[in-house]
Symmetry: C2
Subunit: 368 residues, 2 copies
């Protein structure tokens, strides 16, 4: 089989994929665990899918981006019925009269790593190895698809009760975010969203490549290090080229659910090399900005991740709590997320930090 | 021409229609004046429409119910672009692949008396002589169409900016209200809603009949009385069989905009026959309940209307103010609005008055 055939996703892949997606979730994106259980259930019933590279499809094949939309705090408590994204995707097929050839993720970070796989298993479609963020972000328009001209409509949203809405004409991606968010909140806080059909040649050009494989690699690294009783944080840094930015103990976490988003801040007292220093992380579902002793050190769109110091377990913002000992690591965002076009959508300004000028994290060599 | 051909709507009809619709708005439904100006503009450009009776169409002809959705306080300040309802209706035609044969109003009271006429003029379609309320009510599901089994989907909503959403599958009429209201608020507080296509035989059975003509009659009565310097309130009562329930001076008005609705209460000190008494009117966009000296006298779905004592001008809840001298008149709702099925949707319980048992206003003989 050629590279273009990709590889089948197996049950053994699910735990590493889930772990890697949680790391790339940069604290948000929702917990991929429930989605993983649904993927496993579908696989055990005989459903199969393949992870295929971005160049696997003919130019005019149609790609469907699906994902859950809501707030992480809701996502945990609200089990989805399991066919929300499939129904949203089918609504678009009915509306356009065209069929999709493959699925792709909006965000590899968190729960939306699993949603296109679930839909792929249900619909018998492969999943492209890539996504629209290379991480997680809180809003619909914050993908490379929309940043580089993807159409805001038609899109569709479905809930577990049987409601399906088609966003037939939407004037821009910010209106799509607003309509979809409002509908998701009305639907009970979580729903399945399918964005406008994209041609494969467009996706090949704008998607962040190879991120399903990257998540698998991160997850396998963590599991392997645990099995061999190696230091997990060190191994993840070695495997990914991440930068260790801070280690310490959480001293304060503020969190509030506001307009469908979790906003807040965590404070960390330094340990080890950082003894005597204090770090602060701003949260809006995801980790947005890391300050050390008042100085901004890493900021969106670069990736800021909290791993539990001893186990390397990724800590999502919703389970951050007083007393946790964490390693704060960072990874540079993909180049597609750092262009001027991208800065206008996912730069620090877009999250309410007009005083910050994006200073990119340097690419550290991957030494693993 | 047979009765089934109905009658053409002329420019001379617009002022009386607008006045009568404001009276039947029972204080709410939005001001029909702006819509009237748009109707006139379309007519002056040569557009025509007819008002046709409910039995004018073949059984399987499709009827489109369109209307503005939002809050009255917004409606006054936000001029619609003028094709919102037309675009919502066309979205349903595209979605179903079927064409509409006529328009009908959701509510004859207030601004939504004009919307189907505007769409009818734009699309070259007649308007049925009837509506779904015989008055105004604040929520989408509060029509005889939905009370008697009309489908909640597909429906469509459009704004003046170019956004159009199709509510493709909606599980019940309360979800439609929720999705449509949320979308209208997102769209800036007002939008055009087209509800699911209805067959003409269904509409003939469930619509409140002859209400366009009734609004015209009320409006002509007011204008005629003014011209002849007769007492307008007396003439309206004589022409409609309404009951005079209270006369007095407004002493207090509380109003707040909450979740897209205007809620509040007005207090009135008695004058004339009611000197020494106090009346209270509960408002949720429309006048809901009239108490006199603490006793509930008239309540939804029956119609409660404030007319200015001297001029007979209908006073909408948004312009109620201290010092106004008013006659509070009431009319019984149509029988279709008082069945057990209707009570479950538009009875006092549905507006937050569990302590009230609906006591229908007696039909007074029309003496004019």
């Amino acid at each position: 089989m050629s590279d273009r055939d990709g590889y089948p996703l197996t049950e053994d892949d699910l735990l590493p994929l889930s772990l890697g997606a949680a790391v790339l979730g940069t604290g948000g994106g929702g917990n991929p665990h429930i989605g993983m259980l649904r993927v496993r259930e579908l696989m055990r019933k005989g459903a199969t899918t393949r992870i295929i590279p971005l160049d696997a499809l003919p130019d005019d094949a149609l790609v469907s981006e699906v994902g859950g939309i809501g707030a992480p705090l809701v996502g945990i408590e609200k089990f989805e019925q399991g066919e929300e994204c499939l129904r949203a995707m089918r609504a678009l097929e009915d509306f356009t009269g065209e069929r999709f050839a493959a699925m792709i993720s909006a965000e590899i970070g968190g729960a939306n790593s699993m949603e296109p796989i679930i839909t792929g298993l249900q619909a018998g479609l492969p999943v492209l190895d890539g996504d629209g963020m290379g991480r997680a972000f809180p809003e619909v328009q914050m993908t490379t698809y929309f940043i580089y001209g993807g159409k805001p409509s038609p899109a569709a949203i479905a809930d577990e009760k049987g409601n399906t809405l088609v966003f037939r004409d939407v004037i821009d991606m910010y209106w799509l975010e607003r309509f979809a968010r409002d509908a998701a909140v009305a639907m009970g806080g979580a729903a399945g969203l399918a964005t406008a059909p994209m041609r494969a040649d467009f996706v090949r050009r704008v998607a962040v490549p190879d991120t399903v494989t990257q998540a698998l690699t991160i997850g396998r690294t963590i599991l392997d290090a645990r099995k061999r009783r190696r230091n997990v944080v060190d191994r993840v840094i070695a495997a990914t080229g991440a930068t260790l930015c801070f280690t310490g103990k959480i001293t304060d976490v503020r969190r509030e659910l506001k307009g469908g988003f979790v906003r807040g801040e965590a404070r960390i007292d330094g340990l080890g090399d950082w003894a005597g220093s204090e770090a602060r992380i701003a949260i809006q579902n995801e980790n947005l900005v890391l300050w050390v002793d008042g100085r901004p050190v890493v900021m969106v769109p670069d990736l800021i991740m909290n791993l539990e110091l001893d186990t390397g377990e990724p800590i999502t913002t919703e389970v951050l709590r007083y007393g946790q000992r964490v390693a704060v690591i960072a990874m540079p965002a993909h180049a597609l997320m750092k262009t001027p076009e991208a800065m206008a959508v996912v730069g620090p300004q877009c999250f309410g930090y007009p005083e910050l000028t994006f200073a990119p994290l340097a690419h550290a060599p991957v030494t693993a």
